[in-house]
Subunit: 254 residues, 2 copies
């Protein structure tokens, strides 16, 4: 199967995702989030009350891509999610408000993907230092959590966004196919190599494999265990041919 | 199911993973990779020929964690992977050498997980600017590729590491359970709310729902569609009770 089929263009539903960063301070983080969005085929970046200088720095940075250039700034979470039919907050362990359901990313992404099919969805991320406040969380339908290790839950903002977006675009089907497979050697190629190896070993006086037919069997098994592709089988055969020639003509120049 | 069961301690196989960064230049990237490793429960960070100052800056940075402090520096890829039984290179599209199999991350991670059960595995990442060179790639058994969008394949180094490690620790089973579920309202709670709503509407003279029994059916359906949890049903019932009281006692103080 060709890679083109396995890494398709971003589906139309990607257009329904809004990544909303609330009160983010670091221009590098804003840029890194935009880059991750572009990597995974998402375009709608919204910033709620970013630190002014941080935002201006990020947008004017060399290499600021289309996602950043087209990002929009809002004064409140309410305005940033006004067009969204589902609002999901990403959280560490800071906001375990019992009135909100909390899903691990694997399950959350499944629900977000379904919601994206039918309308706009916002993914909310809080500031680097404080995450989402109770006020921000009150705009969310439910919360998601990346399954980080107990004791070190808090992720870098842009890494958290990257992991969430990856989970949204990952494909269980893709786990079934190799992007680029190498042709394995054929039985004929392996047999040619094996017989040549036996000749070389015999001429070289290698005796560890003992007398035929055990030696023959052992070289057969050895060569098959190498799991050679076609190209490497051919290269090895060429090497052995040269070695075999040299063994039979020790004094001659090539 | 409790969150403790859904986000377990890192399995022992995590100890078998070596994250190998080859010729990385930016101390922020080294620190960010170490943080992602700590988030996902991996500890063995190896650097091949890092820019000296970058490495020293990263290790001496405030907040440099245990992963960074315990990282090791090697002079060559060969030395860095000497104890590994599988070496996998992470690549964009730069190194499509036909002699290497290339797997999408979803499939690659499945194979890496299996290999981690039985021995050390190295995941190789190249420099921010050039990725892995042909020479570095020659130490790999095969390559993996994060399924980024055509036209913007190249990810930030630490984000790429974070996404790969997340795929290694993600659990398909986790997609079946909610970490923190809110108790839905019982039929009794919903019925109490519905009857009270009907009383209020009648007293308020609301007529859009027409005459009973249609109106009764409509309020029943409306309340069920709200998909209320127990707590919110109770709050709404309280609100309606107060409104109902006020409707019947318009002049009185509370």
């Amino acid at each position: 199967m060709s890679e083109a089929r396995l890494i398709p263009e971003p589906p139309k539903r990607n257009r329904n995702l809004r990544v909303v960063l609330v009160e983010v301070r670091n221009p590098l983080n804003i840029g890194a989030v935009a880059r991750a969005m572009s990597n995974f085929g998402f375009a709608d970046l919204r910033l709620v009350r970013p630190y002014d200088t941080a935002y201006r720095e990020a947008v004017s940075a060399v290499g600021a891509g289309a996602v950043l250039q087209n990002s929009t700034v809002f004064d409140s979470v309410a305005e940033a999610v006004a067009d969204c039919r589902l609002v999901v907050g990403a959280t560490g362990l800071g906001h375990r408000q019992p009135q909100h359901s909390l899903y691990r990313l694997e399950l959350a992404a499944r629900q977000v993907r379904r919601a994206l099919e039918v309308g706009p969805v916002a993914l909310l991320f809080g500031s680097e230092k404080f995450g989402l406040s109770n006020d921000h969380v009150s705009h969310c339908h439910w919360l998601l959590r990346i399954p980080t290790r107990r004791g070190h839950e808090s992720m870098n903002l842009a890494q958290a966004v990257a992991v969430c977006l990856y989970e949204l675009i990952r494909s269980p089907l893709a786990a079934r196919h190799c992007l680029q497979a190498v042709d394995k050697a054929t039985g004929e190629e392996l047999e040619r190599l094996t017989l040549l190896l036996q000749d070389v070993l015999q001429h070289a006086g290698y005796s560890d494999y003992g007398a035929a037919p055990t030696a023959a069997e052992k070289t057969h098994r050895l060569v098959r265990r190498l799991s050679l592709d076609s190209r490497d089988a051919s290269v090895l055969t060429g090497m052995l041919r040269q070695i075999f020639w040299r063994l039979r003509h020790p004094g001659e120049t090539n």
